[in-house]
């Protein structure tokens, strides 16, 4: 029977209250939302917080809101909500692509975008999604609010810019016209961690050429977007040989490890093939999208 070590439990009643509790209880306190990363770690004693601060009552962090040129997503928004949102599917199809293959439907009822991003597991999908979409993370702490680009927020495996006494409150994704995005993952079975995955976001110019592009990889040993992708694609009309070149770039940039999910060569092959697929689809989607 796997049971967490003893801890004290408290429910936060507001973001301010959560921050106050984090300050009061210090480094031995942890925030729990969906709990599907933290509780398994606590069962295995990989994490032994003395205080668990439950933020599931903070409905103020559960929202999807279009605000000018950005879509704002509250950190407590559940995976199921993201998957089912028609607005998100229209603006950022990559989110629906990824959400459909994150864990399983029952786990998605609990897990949150904020929890996934803060856990920053190397095989976690939304970090890649937010990276390629150029999202920002809004973090609140005792000193107030700060907004970080995903590249600054996501520091590597299991590490983010969120301090011990801070809370990720919101993700903001810029809405760009003539844009498309896509995500593709290979997993051994439903709910397993990715063998490998790739995400792409593309913005087209008015003449149909590529104005901007980003590719990211999941579980393949690359924390941030594939360097050089935008430079390679910018100004070019979408073409298969370009996708092949960008995919080679992705395969060369990644640094997968061999494990029970596959050897390095296979994972590098996935980086290549999945990058082609998501770029192809992101460009096709961008071409179909007139408004952002």
């Amino acid at each position: 029977m796997q049971i967490p070590a003893p801890f004290d439990y408290v429910r936060a009643t507001s973001v301010d209250n959560a921050l106050e509790l984090l300050s009061r209880h210090g480094p031995e306190s942890r925030v729990v939302a969906g709990g599907h990363s933290l509780l398994p770690m606590m069962k295995l004693r990989l994490s032994r917080p003395e205080w668990l601060i439950d933020i599931n009552d903070l409905y103020e962090l559960d929202f999807i809101l279009r605000d000018g040129g950005k879509l704002r997503i509250g950190a407590l928004t559940r995976h199921t909500t993201l998957l089912e949102s028609e607005e998100i599917a229209a603006l950022f199809p990559i989110v629906r692509d990824a959400e459909a293959v994150i864990a399983d439907p029952v786990v998605r009822n609990r897990g949150t975008i904020g929890g996934s991003l803060c856990q920053a597991d190397p095989a976690e999908d939304l970090s890649t999604v937010c990276n390629v979409l150029g999202a920002e993370a809004v973090i609140r702490g005792p000193a107030g609010e700060r907004t970080l680009a995903m590249a600054e927020f996501h520091r590597g495996p299991y590490e983010t810019a969120v301090g011990q006494d801070e809370l990720l409150c919101e993700v903001r994704i810029p809405i760009r016209p003539r844009s498309g995005s896509a995500y593709a993952k290979v997993e051994r079975r439903v709910g397993d961690w990715a063998v490998g995955a790739a995400g792409a976001a593309v913005t087209l110019a008015e003449d149909g050429s590529i104005a901007d592009a980003a590719v990211g990889l999941t579980a393949l040993g690359l924390d941030h977007t594939v360097p050089g992708t935008a430079e390679l694609l910018r100004g070019q009309q979408p073409r298969e040989d370009l996708f092949v070149a960008a995919a080679r770039l992705a395969a060369d940039s990644c640094d997968p490890v061999a494990d029970q999910r596959g050897p390095i060569d296979y994972k590098r092959h996935l980086a290549d093939e999945l990058t082609r697929r998501v770029l192809r689809q992101a460009c096709a989607r961008a071409a179909q999208t007139q408004e952002g």
Binding site: Q2, H36, L52, D54, D104, P105, V106, R110
Partner: protein, 186 residues
Amino acid sequence: MQISMTVNGNDVTSDIEPRVLLVHYIREVLGLTGTHWGCDTSNCGTCVVLLDGQPVKSCTVLAAMAAGHDVRTVEGLASGGTLDPVQQGFMEEHGLQCGFCTPGMMLTARALLDKNPHPDATEIRQAISGQICRCTGYATIVRSVQWAAAHPAGGDSDADADEVLDGTDTVIKDIPAETKDAEVKA
């Protein structure tokens, strides 16, 4: 700590350790052993219960986190001695053999049908994709859910008795109404 919640429509209050998982609270404190405890790692789905109507894996939810919420277990599916159409469907279509995954499967099916009364086979398979059956097989589980979708008011299995060819259904029917579904697996 003291927690209160609604379980199958009943208000319950208990003193528990904060680290008690919802699955153990339901089974050991409330004595509702129809909720099964399986892998402990939120993979197998046999511990699925409905939390505010949504299926969740109760091995990965603290009982404390469920406080103030509405929990429904397999014991809460039947009402007044009448089986839920999902339960009836599992009888009609041989949706269970050993029965270990059954409570979770039925609750997920109930939540699916509440949201989408006419799911196709793919939607049913997706809905139960986080739950593992290792004996009966998914084909009959999918058919069981389809039966429930086609019979939203349930139905009297006796009326269909002529269609039942194997003895399993007879055995299940013979279990007294007050015996909870937890024991149907036997």
